[in-house]
Each structure stands twice: as structure tokens, then as C-alpha cells.
């Protein structure tokens, strides 16, 4: 049993004893497949955003095509595509990996690399390097 005793220098002040209960919880573990699907989907969605932004700067025709909403401009396509891709990849891999144990290290790597691409590709000084003049 874990316990914590507080002592005081002044003898008049009583010490207190704080105890915590030792407990156990038994619970059936889950398969790693759905978690792996989620990490990969997150990475794919983020990477898609980080790729489509510089691409739309490099290819004016793509930028025009991505203008799915006159008020929002090309930002509409640039954000809808990665968002849909995230949910579609999540759904497809989630179904494929359901009830399976999958290597989490690989899926985590895909997730983290995707996040990095997403952060880099949406940073203006980076994607401006690709702007067509």
C-alpha cells in the first residue's frame, strides 16, 4: 500500500498520513489495426494538404480548378480534398484492419511524416518557392 507521511519541524503540528489504495483493473486489450488506420489516415490527410497547396501555386490551371466556390476561391478545393481523403482512407483502412494487429511503428511513421509534410507545405515561405510567375 502506498503511503505518504508529512512531518513537521514544529512538534505541535500533527503529521498526517495519506494512503492510496492498491488496485488492479483487468481489461481485454484491443487490436492495433483501427489505431494504425487512424494514424495513417491522419498522415495522408495532412500530407495531402501539404502537397496540394504548393501544387496549386505551381500549376495555375489546378488553382483555377480548385475554385469550387466563388467566395472562398481555390481554398475550397485545397481543403475539401485532404479532408475527404482523411475520412475515406480512415474508413477503408479501418475496414481492412478491423480485428487485425498491424505494425504500429510503420503507421506512426506515416502519420508523423504526413504531419510534417502538412506543416511544411502550408508554410507560405515554403510554398511560395513553387509559385508560377
Amino acid at each position: 500500500m502506498a503511503q505518504f507521511t508529512a512531518t513537521s519541524a514544529a512538534s505541535q503540528t500533527p503529521s498526517i498520513l495519506i494512503e492510496t489504495k492498491p488496485e488492479e483493473m483487468s481489461i481485454v486489450d484491443v487490436k492495433t489495426g483501427p489505431a494504425a488506420a487512424t494514424f495513417i489516415a491522419g498522415g495522408v490527410g495532412a500530407a495531402a494538404l501539404g502537397i496540394i497547396v504548393p501544387l496549386s501555386e505551381a500549376i495555375p490551371a489546378l488553382k483555377t480548378w480548385l475554385t469550387w466556390n466563388a467566395g472562398v476561391g481555390p481554398l475550397a478545393g485545397k481543403t475539401i480534398i485532404p479532408s475527404i481523403l482523411f475520412f475515406v482512407v480512415w474508413l477503408v483502412l479501418g475496414l481492412m484492419f478491423r480485428d487485425k494487429n498491424v505494425n504500429l511503428r510503420t503507421s506512426l511513421a506515416v502519420g508523423f511524416v504526413g504531419l510534417f509534410i502538412g506543416l511544411l507545405g502550408t508554410f507560405p515561405p515554403f510554398y511560395d518557392l513553387f509559385t508560377a510567375h
Binding site: D29, P34, A46, L49, G71, L75, S83, T122, F123
Partner: protein, 182 residues
Amino acid sequence: MEVTSKELWTIIHGMGFGAIFLLAFAGGLAGLYSLRPELVTVAGIRERVRRLNVGMWVMAVVVWLTVITGTYIVYPWYRATPPKGVDLTNAAALVEYPRYFLLASHTTAEWHKFGMEWKEHVAWLAPIAATVVAFLVAYYGPRLAKHPEIRRAAMIFFAVAFLAAAAAGAFGAFITKAAPLH
């Protein structure tokens, strides 16, 4: 004292949804960090997981609402084009057109070229990363306490969601100060 509909939507987007996500982040991160068997009792794990589960899904929904309202309601007002014939170098004539107002002067142009351009794109990483975290908490539940690698990965995704939302939120506040929507 009056709040126009444009101002109201700006408040809902930034000071409402956006602020809820940013303010809740610290609580979520602390909950994930402390979900370890050496730090909390079984009762503590159960209580934290219930709170984290509800909190993470609320945060994920709120951050989706933040980017959707920002992109599809507020942003079109920001980038509205002035009528033909308006002098695009005369800032005083462009106060109703924030994007063009900022671009009209070299002292404010970077608020759009860097600030708005970064904000409008990077913000969309936040809902994706936050949804990943919400699902992991819901799927693993108390098991997260025995899977430190998943918990650490969830914290990294959560931190990226926060950084993206914080960058967007900070520039949103600065740009609204420099070129308010009325």
C-alpha cells in the same frame, strides 16, 4: 452598442469555437500526460478516461466547426473584391475589403501575404489531428495507460492540432485588428 452580422460570425468563429479549442488544450494534454498507472489509481484512470473521451470529441467537433465557419462564412467577406474603378492603392477606399485594404500598403501587406496565407491553410491540419486523438481515446479508453507509445503519439498529434490552431488564431486576431470586418 451594435454587433453586425459579420462581426457576430467573426466572434462565433474566433472567440467562440476557436477559443474553446485553444483553452481546452491544456486540460486535454494534462489528461493524456497523466494517464499512467504510476500516477493515478484505477478509479482515477476511469474518471480521466470518461472526461477525456467527452472532451476530445467536443474539441474535435469544435475545431471542425471553427475551420468550416472561418472558411465558408468569414473568409469570403475578407476576400471580397472591390467594384471596378476603385483605386487598389488607396487604402482609405478599401476599408470594406480587408484583403485589398491590407495589400494596398507595404506596411500591412505582409498581414495578408504571410499571416492570412498561413492561417487559412495550416488551420485545416487541426481538425484532422484532433479527430485522430479523439478516436484513439475512445478506442483505447483505459488501455491507454498501458500503451505509452500510443499515448505519446496521441499527445504529438494533439500538440500539432494546437500549434496549427494557435497560429491561425493568433493571426486571425492580428488581422482582425489591422483590417476589421464590419
